[in-house]
């Protein structure tokens, strides 16, 4: 899924923390998104019931995923579409590349899709000589910059308008102003032609409706609608779990997705595609293909503890309230999926608790994520459990293991605990200055580089209590 970064999490974070421009852009955006979401939550009566309902729908679907995928497949076929199942990223890339070749496609237009990021589709298609153009404004910007999304809903959250104007100016060969009308006008002009000349449109899938075989796409720019109506051929790519049973269920999740993502009641466009054009239809594509991607999801499904992470509706709300994401942005996570949900699913999808098992530690377990998640995924519990999985699979650090072993030996009995406290209190003496340890000592540097360390008191509460009782 994700190419393994060369740096470890801590070093990636250090690098990100030096990027003031990015951090400022992220802070500003997540504050705005969260405030909008809070407002939307206040305006919708019984918000908690909506969350509960969303959870129930997702839970039910995921628990019966085999049934609903079969139903979906049957109904897509009935509507004239073809369904392909890709067990992994490589298979998915091959299926899509083969389809494009089969249709003699040269030019491809895409609408926003995280799963195609996950399978690294663009580079695969470009490698076989196709032109791939992202039509979501933010994705288009990232494509020009040669970057990846740093947020699942707002892919270019880390960029400010001046940087965007600079990128556009390069393409235009002249200065493009940095105000919104100028930027969108420029992108529209370029993208319109790309839409018209595209042979194949590739989309993601926010939700597939099993009972009708429909693919639902939400956008604010209308680019998914153009992607699915102008080209002759449409290929939708979906993560295996992105399905809901009925249109009624869709209503619930579609009420929650935009509200949690941006605070909107509804996105500007909601497109529902039902297979290919049938006799008597006034519109629709000639050929429709649905590619269902597993890529580690079956493994998650089989794992009762972590299955619930598949309930995610990809709203991004957990990113927006995460105090860690707020400081380091999305790229430092190193995975296609960052933020709290990314820290949960990346080690699982990758089946690599050694390298990717660092991500569950990118959290203070503050539970801000859990408190907002519309699917009520207990994200911090899953992060907590993944840490244990990493340690029990033998990937903890030797030093750390040693330290905790010592800690256990002293802390499991009051007598040794008291002894340890006494030793700490006496041993620190030469370092204490006015109640704090301030020197940057090798062992304490991780703390004292940024903070004073509160020194242990001369007498513990326990000692004072005993004295008092006498």
């Amino acid at each position: 899924m994700s190419e393994r970064p060369t740096l470890h999490l801590r070093d990636r974070a250090v690098k990100a923390l030096k990027d003031d421009q990015m951090r400022q852009a992220v802070r500003k955006a997540v504050d705005r998104l969260s405030a909008n979401k809070d407002k939307a939550a206040r305006e919708l009566p019984n918000w908690e019931e909506w969350r509960e309902q969303t959870k129930l729908i997702r839970q039910h679907t995921v628990n019966h995923l085999d049934y609903y995928l079969k139903l979906l497949t049957d109904n897509v076929k009935k509507a004239g579409g073809k369904v392909h199942f890709a067990p992994n990223a490589e298979a998915a890339r091959k299926i899509i590349a083969d389809l494009c070749k089969e249709y003699n496609a040269k030019k491809i237009i895409k609408s926003k899709s995280m799963v195609t990021e996950e399978i690294h589709l663009n580079t695969a298609l470009e490698a076989v000589g196709m032109e791939v153009v992202e039509s979501d404004l933010a994705e288009y910007i990232l494509q020009l910059a040669g970057e990846t999304p740093s947020h699942i809903i707002v892919p270019a959250i880390h960029k400010n308008r001046n940087q965007i104007a600079e990128l556009f100016s390069k393409v235009a060969g002249k200065k493009v102003e940095s105000d919104t009308p100028a930027l969108t006008a420029f992108a529209r002009k370029i993208l319109r032609n790309k839409f018209i000349s595209a042979d194949v449109g590739i989309t993601g899938c926010n939700f597939a409706v099993a009972e009708t075989g429909s693919i639902t796409l939400v956008t604010n720019e209308g680019n998914a609608r153009l992607t699915t109506t102008l080209p002759r051929i449409v290929i939708s790519v979906m993560g295996m779990e992105r399905v809901v049973p009925t249109f009624e269920d869709l209503e619930t999740v579609l009420s929650m997705l935009p509200r949690n993502a941006t605070g909107q009641k509804l996105t500007s466009y909601v497109s529902v595609i039902n297979g290919s054009r049938q006799p008597g239809d006034i519109d629709g594509c000639e050929k429709f293909h649905l590619v269902i991607v597993d890529n580690g999801r079956s493994r998650m499904l089989a794992d009762e503890e972590y299955r619930q992470a598949l309930n995610c509706i990809r709203c991004g709300a957990c990113f927006n309230v995460c105090p860690v994401y707020r400081q380091i942005g999305g790229h430092a996570y190193g995975s296609v999926y960052g933020g709290p949900i990314g820290s949960v699913i990346t080690p699982l999808l990758e089946d690599d608790i050694d390298f990717w098992g660092e991500l569950p530690y990118a959290s203070t377990l503050c539970a801000a994520c859990t408190s907002v998640c519309p699917a009520k995924i207990p994200l911090q519990d899953l992060l907590f459990k993944l840490r244990h999985r990493r340690v029990s699979d033998g990937y903890g650090q030797v030093v750390e293991k040693f330290a905790f072993n010592m800690w256990k030996r002293f802390f499991k009995l009051p007598s040794t605990y008291k002894f340890a406290m006494k030793v700490a209190s006496l041993g620190q003496k030469p370092l204490v200055n006015n109640g704090y340890i301030t020197a940057k000592l090798p062992l304490l540097a991780n703390w004292t580089n940024s903070r004073y360390m509160r020194a242990a008191a001369d007498t513990t509460f326990r000692e004072r209590w005993e004295k008092r009782k006498k």
């Binding site: 203070t364 377990l365 256990k408 991780n446 004073y452 513990t460 004072r464």
Partner: protein, 242 residues
């Protein structure tokens, strides 16, 4: 009314005066306190770092220490959360310990929660003529839902000049071993917290969780600021004596 003190290791060793303040307030409110000497630490450092096997024997000291207590009061939301939220996971496969963990959870209270909910005291008769802001700790706010009780207590303090803290709900960046495993991120978080505190121009920052307060205080002191960092028990204790 009788209650046992769960002092927590941070309070025991670094902030004994907070424990003493808690004792004074509770005794003034008519509580007879005891201190079960078998207690050590809730086991959180190992627990949240993934070393459950090391955390378990330490957590067990908690289960035995408070076996006979009717109520248990602690000056730290995060240690209580360890018991309530994580012990059931830790002892999932040991029905007897699991039961004991649940039993302890049911009688374990954060200081302000105990005062308002159990003692039914919303106004302890304190006066505190200072500009005060409040950091809403993650565990008290989101796990224990005891944030409301601190607010109730603070609102009823006379002459207090209370200023809300911008982003009061944001984590201070401590997170136990997080603060030393990913110290740069932790620093960025506590730095933002400190900046928000400075912005309020408060003389005092008050909170209910000593680990957060230790972290924030450490940052504020490093930055040579004069903000006084206090546990709510200290504030009430001082206020009741004024």
């Amino acid at each position: 009314m009788k209650a046992s003190i769960f002092i927590t290791c941070i309070c025991d060793s670094m902030y004994p005066q907070v424990g003493e303040a808690m004792v004074r307030v509770l005794e003034k409110l008519g509580v007879t306190l005891d201190f079960p000497p078998e207690q050590t630490c809730c086991g959180q450092p190992a627990l949240s770092s993934g070393y459950w096997e090391y955390a378990r024997p330490v957590a067990e000291t908690m289960l035995t220490a408070f076996k006979n207590s009717q109520y248990v009061v602690a000056p730290a939301g995060s240690c209580i959360t360890a018991v309530k939220e994580y012990y059931p996971i830790l002892f999932e496969k040991d029905p007897e310990k699991y039961r004991q963990a649940k039993e302890l959870s049911a009688k374990l209270f954060e200081f302000s929660e105990f005062v308002v909910k159990i003692l039914k005291k919303e106004d302890v008769g304190a006066r505190f003529p200072h500009r005060v802001t409040y950091h809403s700790s993650c565990h008290a706010r989101r796990f224990l839902n005891t944030d409301q009780y601190v607010r109730t207590l603070l609102t009823n303090v006379k002459e207090i000049d209370y200023v809300p803290l911008p982003h009061e709900e944001a984590c201070c960046g401590f997170g136990g071993t997080f603060s030393v495993k990913l110290p740069e991120i932790s620093e960025a978080m506590v730095d933002e917290k400190a900046r928000n505190i400075m912005e309020t121009k408060a003389d005092v920052l008050v909170g209910v969780d000593l680990s957060c307060l230790m972290n924030i205080d450490g940052r504020l002191k490093k930055q040579k600021t004069n903000v006084r960092v206090m546990h709510v028990a200290e504030l009430l204790d001082e206020g009741m004596r004024l």
